[in-house]
Symmetry: C2
DNA sequence: TTTCTCAAGTGGTCGGACCTCTGACCTCTG
DNA sequence: CAGAGGTCAGAGGTCCGACCACTTGAGAAA
């Protein structure tokens, strides 16, 4: 079989520092309000240059995870004080920070948004939006329904809806969902689910959109969401019970 | 009256660089897909050290406004490709990038979110949430209804609702709205509006929340939103016609 | 006691060197 | 004449070590 390799950009030093700090913060190693070590210390302890540390801290600042105060230090903030939805994405990268409850909140948010987006898309889409989707679906039809293809299909449709909504804010949030989808993919897009009807459902959704039937589009999407949310939550509950995600469980 | 001053950290070099670059990008000085000058050039042209430029670029990266590729350069992306809601906040800082249409999209998004948040808050709030608000409203009652107080009241209520919603994602988005509110404040919280009923309305909202009457809370908020959105849009239309906001208008 | 000064600690900036990756061009080879 | 590797300039990535600017608190001075 042909080699299928994924290009990976070598993570930079500041990437590594950023991820470590983010991890420590999100898992509560530094309590909110607490101060992280000064930049020189961090650099020394991490074995990197202070510049790399500073760049990492800039990124944390962009997520509102820390506030930097000249002459005083760098202080940790609650994730809930942030105004960057990406912190939630970051949280969901931390097995120890994922709980079924957090996942439930996220899925609720996504449901609300996506249902509204599809409604807006039905009302506002212009022809060029749907042409891409139509082409994609036609191309896809012949192929088998693997989990990977189902994921890509959802991603593509998600993206399309965002664009068609004609609302920049909804589109941006939708972009975030795309990333979340890829990240949480394994929870849902796996062999244990039946993805065979996915293509057909997408096709019906597209028809509803073409007909500008917002209610019908919502209904179709609602069913998809019901199914996928349930699947994700079941999987998450399993993982939580097994101690794979969720807060540290004391040794039995 | 007692002075209430907000301390502001002196903007750093990298702040300045960041803002300049963001401005140039958001106003289209560099087209999406285009490359910005290399770091050494930028540093030289801006008269700052390369480190400051790099830190600024890191922040742009965090907003998904650019992608940096080792050995190649730094490329600009469409705001609509971003997954950071803060780009929209940034857009709304650029008079030339603000249009009535963008504002309308933003307000629609806010309306949807806030109405949902108030619903969730009515269902999920715990007593401590409302206690703060109650105290605030009682304290406020005696004072006059200045635009500034009306703004602060809305900000506080906004924040409260986010916390009470019990949903991290909604809370984070709400935090963003708080910032937007302060930023767009002048469009609405000015002398030409009547803010005298604001306190009374907030009081009724609080009662509805205490009674966990989600529908009533929504209705109350809806009226507030109707009023403020209309005011903001009228003001924006005026400003757009006057050429204060919106794309550059050719000299007559 | 109160006020002032100053030193230590922390983030902010500097410049200038070197490393690594990318892409275009060059050169060798079959 | 492709197609392979080699070379080099240009871009980002990292490092060093020094100095600047702000904050705080301890200790000196009033």
């Amino acid at each position: 079989m042909a080699l299928t390799l994924q290009r990976l950009d070598a993570p930079s030093r500041s990437d590594g520092v950023f991820e470590q700090l983010r991890h420590q913060i999100l898992t509560g190693a530094v309590p909110a309000g607490g101060r992280i070590p000064n930049e020189r210390d961090l650099a020394a302890r991490l074995g990197v240059n202070r510049s790399s540390v500073r760049e990492a801290i800039r990124r944390l600042e962009g997520l509102d995870l820390v506030t930097v105060r000249h002459g005083r230090g760098t202080y940790v903030r609650h994730a809930s004080e942030s105004s960057a939805l990406q912190v939630v994405e970051a949280l969901l990268r931390e097995p120890r920070a994922i709980t079924v409850d957090l996942l439930r909140q996220t899925l609720l948010f996504r449901r609300d948004i996506v249902l509204r987006v599809v409604e807006l898309a039905a009302q506002h889409h212009r022809t060029e939006h749907l042409a891409d989707a139509r082409a994609l679906l036609d191309r896809e039809s012949a192929e088998g329904a693997t989990p990977a293809r189902a994921l890509e299909l959802d991603v593509a449709m998600n993206r399309l809806l965002g664009e068609a909504s004609g609302n920049l804010m909804y589109q941006v949030v939708t972009n975030l969902f795309t990333r979340l989808l890829r990240q949480l993919g394994p929870l849902y897009y796996n062999e244990s689910r039946d993805h065979r009807r996915s293509l057909e459902t997408h096709r019906r959704l597209l028809v509803a959109l073409e007909a500008r039937d917002a209610d019908e589009a919502r209904r179709i999407l609602e069913v998809m969401l019901d199914y996928s949310e349930q699947a994700i939550l079941e999987e998450a509950e399993r993982l939580e019970a097994a101690g794979v995600i969720g807060p540290e469980t004391p040794a039995p």
